[in-house]
């Protein structure tokens, strides 16, 4: 038990170190964007008609702490970031945490649900298709997963939206109906959210499922071909007991390992899907932040949060993996 606690502590420390390194990279990237927050805000003010002088910019720099050396600013940023405070958006001058509000959690929830659904489907389907010799089943699955892999998400989103508009005259965009958009959380709001959220979950889950089926199928086929399975069969182990105790049990580790990659891929697809469905969640906020207004503070915060989620998922899968793999378990439990 002590060993296990130490293992978890070490992994957690490694995750934090990873995050610190990531934060450094993100922070450096934020610096590389030409111009700083003070300039940008004031330039923005300028276009609104207020006359701004160089002295004003300097004063603003001091106010934002931008005159401090790079490393000092990074340390301040990262210390606050770990406490959930990302400062203010450059342009909007609003607290980023408040700006993001539930948006980040909602989008994280959508991504994780898509991932969970993908594996809920892929595990049985992948296992059955790896063990079945039915040509029909395997060819059908192959077709479906090619469709899943080849059909870009944005196209799928557009097709569904078009279909919905023609059929029901509803565009299916957004995460909330108008009346709930800024309302406080209530059961009705939750219901409204779920009514809207199935579409992005479906679209993100679509290709994720196709990928996951391929992963599970390949890993299972791999295990089934191994000698220990033949050896178990030669000892009289058969049927479902053979399937679950031997290849399925042993494919579990690599499958858990692939979760992190899959989440990463879903995150990558999120912005485009979000943009098309005009979801005002973190993904599209990121694109907005980068493209429309060069808001490096906001973009940095979102990238940091997304990476943080991936690091967290990898940490969780690492711990689960350690518990399922006897080699690792032996070395940490003694």
């Amino acid at each position: 038990m002590l060993h296990f606690a130490r293992f978890v502590a070490i992994r957690a420390a490694m995750a934090v170190v990873t995050l610190v390194i990531v934060s450094f990279i993100v922070f450096s990237l934020m610096e590389l964007v030409p111009g700083d927050c003070a300039e940008r805000y004031l330039a923005f003010k300028n276009t609104q008609g207020s006359a701004i002088s160089v002295a004003d910019i300097e004063a603003e720099r001091v106010r934002l702490g931008l005159d401090k050396p790079f490393l000092t600013r990074w340390v301040i940023w990262i210390t606050n970031a770990f406490q959930g405070d990302f400062g203010e958006s450059c342009i909007l001058r609003l607290n980023i945490s408040r700006l993001l509000g539930d948006k980040f959690l909602l989008s994280l929830g959508i991504c994780l649900t898509a991932l969970a659904l993908a594996y809920a489907i892929a595990l049985p389907v992948g296992i059955i298709s790896a063990t079945s010799s039915s040509r029909l089943l395997n060819n059908t699955l192959r077709l479906v997963s090619y469709l899943g892999l080849a059909l870009p998400n944005f196209l799928l989103a557009l097709i569904i939206m078009l279909f919905a508009t023609v059929m029901w005259g509803e565009s299916l965009t957004g995460l909330f109906s108008k009346e709930f958009r800024d309302a406080p959380w209530s059961w009705e709001r939750v219901a409204d959210f779920l009514k809207h959220a199935w579409l992005p979950i479906f679209i993100l889950g679509w290709s994720a499922t196709a990928f996951a089926i391929q992963t599970v199928r390949a890993l299972m086929s791999d295990e089934i071909g191994k000698l220990y399975v033949t050896a178990a069969r030669a000892r009289g182990v058969a049927g479902r007991r053979l399937l679950w105790r031997y290849p399925a049990r042993h494919a579990l580790g690599p499958i858990i390992n692939s979760l992190g990659f899959d989440l990463n891929r879903i995150f990558n697809e999120l912005p485009v899907v979000a943009l098309i469905l005009t979801l005002t969640e973190a993904g599209s906020l990121l694109i907005e932040a980068l493209a429309r207004s060069n808001d490096q503070q906001l973009a940095g915060a979102i990238i940091f949060l997304l990476t943080g989620s991936i690091v967290a998922v990898n940490f969780a899968t690492d711990v689960i993996l350690a518990l399922t793999d006897p080699r690792v378990r032996r070395s940490i439990l003694g």
Binding site: L227, A231, A234, R235, V237
Partner: protein, 333 residues
Amino acid sequence: MTRLLDVENLTLQFDTDEGRITAVDGVSFSLEQGEVLGLVGESGSGKSVTAKSLMKLNPGNAIYGPQTRIALHLDDGSVDIMSLRTSSELQLVRGGAISMIFQEPMASFAPAITIGKQMVEQLLIHTDMSKKQARELSIEMLARVGISDASRRFDQYAFELSGGMRQRAMIAMALSTRPRLLIADEPTTALDVTIQAQVIELMKDLVAEFGMAIIFITHDLGVIAQTADTVAVMYLGRLVERGPVREVLRSPGHPYTRGLLEALPDLEDLDRPLTPVPGDIPSPLERPSGCVFHTRCQVAIEGLCRREVPQFVDLDEHHRAACHLVARERGAA
């Protein structure tokens, strides 16, 4: 002696992407109780698939010939192995009356299940022991094959054991159900020479103790000479020679067997040049007509060997070879 196994006309083909290949072609042999049969032949000659046929262990793309008969004679009657279908019927030959040890001791244990759990699982399938009894017997078997600290090893995983220890554990597991026939498919190839000798010694002891028959598969005629009572030589899916081990090794009849022996170093005459069997093994997709060995045989008879399949002829009471040349010499004698 009592008959244990009769294999008649075993023919086995595989459906592959390149077409249907013949892996075993009309192989017949029998085995007495307690007999140790050495099955030799170059890589790809069909030794493993022949052995797996006895447990119907070949994968789904395997097609057995309609003439194939495999009969296992047990105390309470004979079993037609080819007619076994359901997994509960097959249990009899899979770990019950027949057990198998594989070449790779590491790969034949499931990596994430302890050795003990795999042993107990097998005993629970094949006997009506309780878990506790199965555990006790397993530990006893591990100790019997020379694994020290057996009760600790019982709870370990294959990766925690050395190569020789793993193969010992594999033997313990295979013997725990007291099979009538043990198939050992190159059980010592993956081990280094000293360990090899120890494992072979152990197997010889156990045969005597358990009174079971063994089919010992190997490329190594030296190992055969040490362990087997009889030897069967396979080439490209055909049995080419069979007989008592001394006779076959001293006076081989088939040119292929002779070739295998000439490729072995001779401790009495170390100056004798080693001559491997010349030529390459033909692809299984292009099986030679007539005698399958004619593409590599240096004494092939023009016009005959390429066209006609040689039948078995007796060289001695139990010693037979399938070769036109042997038949001619016998006929002339």
